[in-house]
């Protein structure tokens, strides 16, 4: 069958309904690595990269709806990054300019790697996703979507259409540890998002468990201790307790990128650093 270049979401869903075994292609930065290695041979390919709807974003009820085909480069444009600085920071750390031009948000989520850099941010922000097939449109939360290491909740015939991200008032941070600055897969990543209106700090952590997750115990502790008037004056003791709680919530493993012990240590450092930076930011 070869490569089918869809021009609309409806066309893509119709093609998938007819060819449920077709391989979905977006930016190719995960898929083509497998293809080049010979671990994934292609027969029928459905290319989503030229669907204008998937490249768009809109604002609706204090939420931004991002098309699944939005690239990392798009996410770092000031117009978009202003809504969610932590997501833009995460996008900026991905790969290289070449990878950021091609790689998409939808592809990062579908790949569902424990080290996917947008995931801890989206988890922290309680983002949700619209999945679409020729017969159904459904909405799932990020945590429902990512079901395990490189496993997602897509049903045959479904594509990710968009990602809905709430806008929060207050400073945000995304931090990642790797072996160098550019072109590096996270050994540990952490997102801290201030929700000034709800008086809550939201924390998403990546690469230290099978799926990125929210450190809820640490969130409750610090949201209570945080000075919501001036957001200064956090004691050393509170900061340390907070980073301990974040580290205790992780279940890291030893692998070629780092040991479990190192990851526990690094996540503590990141939690502390993110909290200090958020505390130095403008809260209101």
């Amino acid at each position: 069958m070869g490569v089918i270049i869809a021009k609309s979401v409806n066309e893509a869903c119709a093609v998938l309904a007819e060819n449920p075994a077709a391989t979905v292609l977006a930016g190719g930065t995960d898929l083509m690595v497998q293809v080049n290695r010979g671990t994934h041979s292609l027969e029928t390919v459905l290319d989503l990269s030229r669907i204008p709807e998937l490249k768009k974003w809109t604002m609706e009820d204090n939420q931004i709806i991002l098309g699944a085909g939005i690239s990392y480069t798009d996410l770092t444009h000031p117009q978009l990054s202003a809504f969610f600085p932590a997501l833009a920071q995460a996008a900026r750390t991905v790969g290289s300019p070449q990878i950021r031009n091609a790689g998409t948000l939808g592809g990062n989520l579908a790949t569902a790697s424990p080290a996917g850099d947008t995931i801890p941010v989206l988890v922290a922000m309680d983002a949700s996703m619209q999945l679409k097939s020729s017969t159904e449109t459904r909405e799932v939360s990020i945590t429902e979507f990512i079901t395990g290491v490189k496993a997602n909740a897509l049903k045959p015939g479904e594509i990710i259409e968009s990602i809905k991200v709430p806008i929060f008032k207050g400073p945000q941070e995304f931090l990642k540890v790797g072996t160098r600055n550019a072109m590096v897969i996270s050994v540990v990543s952490l997102a801290l998002v201030t929700d000034y209106l709800e008086r809550k700090l939201r924390i998403g952590v990546g690469s230290v468990s099978p799926v990125p997750f929210r450190a809820t115990e640490a969130e409750e502790f610090i949201s209570d201790k945080f000075d919501w008037e001036t957001n200064r004056n956090l004691s050393e003791k509170v900061i340390n307790k907070f980073s301990e709680l974040v580290a205790n919530s992780t279940e890291p493993i030893d692998d070629h990128r780092g040991t479990a012990n190192y990851r526990k240590h690094a996540v503590k450092v990141l939690a502390k650093r993110a909290l200090e930076r958020v505390s130095a930011g403008d809260i209101k």
Binding site: M1, G2, V3, I4, I5, L25, G27, G28, T29, M32, V33, V35, N36, R37, S41, L42, E43, T44, V45, D47, S49, T73, G95, S96, P97, Q98, I99, N101, A102, N181, A182, M183
Partner: protein
């Protein structure tokens, strides 16, 4: 809808790809089928940037582009810089700065730097470092590459001023 025979628009010229296999990358097709071997293959996993080309004006790794999905896109490779008789200004700056050692990384770097200077004619070193962070060089230590970018940027400025003065 397209099948295994398709055409690609490379450096302004249309090329037929006959009996292509759906798994072939753009890099492979450029080198093995279209005899455009300027783009280099070092990793085939997006890490080294030696296969960098422009697709619709943006730098990407051609090893990660599915060739048959690039139908109708404007592809520019290293062969598209400069002309038959004359190398481009960035290529010349690389020669002048001595920024080429084994030369394997050079085509990808030239494509990335030409694109950078087209969008940002006067980049500072940090911007240049960021722009070429996806292009690995095992030989030069990057110092002379940065110098080449400074030379090319300066030459373009002088040329623009001369043209405006006319």
């Amino acid at each position: 809808m397209i099948s295994e025979t398709y055409s690609l628009l490379v450096n302004g010229k249309s090329y037929q790809v006959v009996d292509g296999h759906p798994s072939e990358s753009l890099l492979w097709v450029l080198r093995e089928r279209l005899e455009l071997s300027g783009s280099k293959n070092a990793c085939e996993e997006g890490e080294c940037g030696s296969c960098t080309v422009l697709v619709d004006g943006e730098i990407v790794c051609s090893c990660l582009v599915l060739a048959a999905s690039a139908v109708g896109r404007e592809i520019t490779t290293i062969e598209g810089l400069g002309s038959e008789d004359e190398i481009s200004d960035v290529q010349k700056a690389f020669v002048d700065a001595g920024a080429v050692q084994c030369g394997f990384c050079t085509p990808g770097l030239l494509v990335a730097i030409d694109q950078l200077l087209n969008t940002d004619p006067d980049p500072d070193d940090l911007t240049v470092r960021e722009a070429i962070s996806g292009n690995l060089c095992r030989c030069t230590g990057y110092g002379r590459i940065l110098e080449a970018v400074r030379i090319a940027s300066k030459n373009r400025k002088v040329q623009n001023q001369e043209e405006q003065g006319k």
